[in-house]
């Protein structure tokens, strides 16, 4: 793209097309808190697993319906951050904050996927190949 092209294009306009959705402001749900305020960014495929304490009714009166729904969804089967975002129809950043709250409350823990810059080990790769072939 030439400089002339760039200056012709209004910067705000270029995000609105087929691949980019509408403007949203869902961080009200996290009372303005963002994932930067909590520890590290939770990986999209990190699984949220309920702790036994999540069964204890009335533990935390400050939880929102979204917090409760996350715990309930994960009680059936641990769910990834990405699945929760899709299921709750919330941006990933919002889900990260809500899950961070639940981790702080020790109602859930989060699995650690393969660390960045490391490949899964060879035996797992072989199991993936076998698993795919058997589908």
């Amino acid at each position: 793209m030439t400089e002339a092209d760039q200056s012709r294009e209004a910067p705000a306009a270029r995000w609105f097309d087929d691949e980019a959705g509408p403007v949203v402001r869902p961080y009200a749900m996290t009372r303005g808190r963002t994932s930067a305020a909590t520890r590290h960014r939770l990986d999209l495929i990190a699984l949220v697993v309920p702790e036994p304490a999540a069964d204890d009714p009335g533990r935390d009166q400050t939880l929102s319906p979204e917090h409760v729904e996350i715990v309930e969804r994960c009680s059936e089967q641990p769910q990834s951050i990405a699945e929760l975002a899709a299921g709750l129809d919330l941006p990933v950043g919002v889900v990260r904050v809500l899950v961070g709250d639940l981790v702080d409350d020790e109602l859930v823990h989060v699995t650690r996927p393969v660390p960045p810059a490391e490949l899964p080990d060879v035996s797992i790769l072989r199991e993936v190949i076998n698993g795919l072939r058997a589908l």
């Binding site: 980019a20 699984l47 190949i129």
Partner: protein, 203 residues
């Protein structure tokens, strides 16, 4: 606040599967969502990241004017290979302004599929460059649309300037068996790249 699970005291601790991911890159309309849907046990899901005007995910929206933010969608599917092994597929547009998403997705990814359409091969250049530069194992899958001229694989390889070790396969993104083969090719390539001592024994 109750979670309403009265019978849950007898509940087994849930299995905690290992989760892995494969990325699906390619231009708009090349068949990413279709490919994910062909093998996923769930309908492809969409999730969104909020973008600032600068094209990075927004970590602090306080005081940010709504007009300077928007969202980008990625879609994904899930394949439970075993109770303790789950593979996620992520598809998101392979365009320069979305690379920040790839930077996050690529972390810990097992490998990638670059979907290509012979009518618009240039749409896959950026994704190929991206994975080459980061050393992420990838396979190029040419999605064979009806009506698109068939080119010999060698001609497509040449046009894409692929390194010899990168596999190029023809596929039909709508066909489950075909997509399974593409994914197996990606993982086999990852296995070879996992280290010289781990390469298949030469026969």
């Amino acid at each position: 606040m109750a979670f309403g699970r009265s019978s849950s005291s007898r509940r087994q601790p849930p299995v905690e599967p290992v989760t892995l991911k494969i990325l699906v890159a390619g231009g708009f309309g090349v068949g990413k969502t279709t490919l994910v849907g062909s093998v996923s046990e769930i309908r492809p899901l969409r999730t969104e990241e909020i973008l600032s005007e600068a094209g990075r995910p927004v970590d602090d929206l306080h005081g940010v004017e709504a007009k300077s933010t928007t969202t980008v969608a990625m879609d994904f599917g899930r394949i439970t290979l075993r109770e303790d092994l789950v593979l996620y597929l992520f598809g998101t547009p392979g365009q320069d302004r979305f690379w920040f998403l790839w930077d996050e997705l690529a972390q810990g990814a097992l490998g990638a599929v670059v979907l290509a359409d012979t009518r618009r091969l240039e749409d896959s250049f950026a994704a190929i460059d991206y994975f080459e530069r980061r050393g992420i194992p990838f396979t190029v899958a040419v999605n064979c649309f009806e009506g698109a001229r068939r080119y010999p694989p060698e001609a497509v390889r040449g046009a894409l300037d692929l390194d010899p070790e990168v596999e190029l396969v023809l596929c039909d993104a709508r066909d489950r068996e075909s997509v399974k083969n593409v994914l197996v090719a990606v993982v086999e390539h990852a296995l070879v790249l996992a280290g010289p001592d781990r390469a298949p024994v030469p026969g």
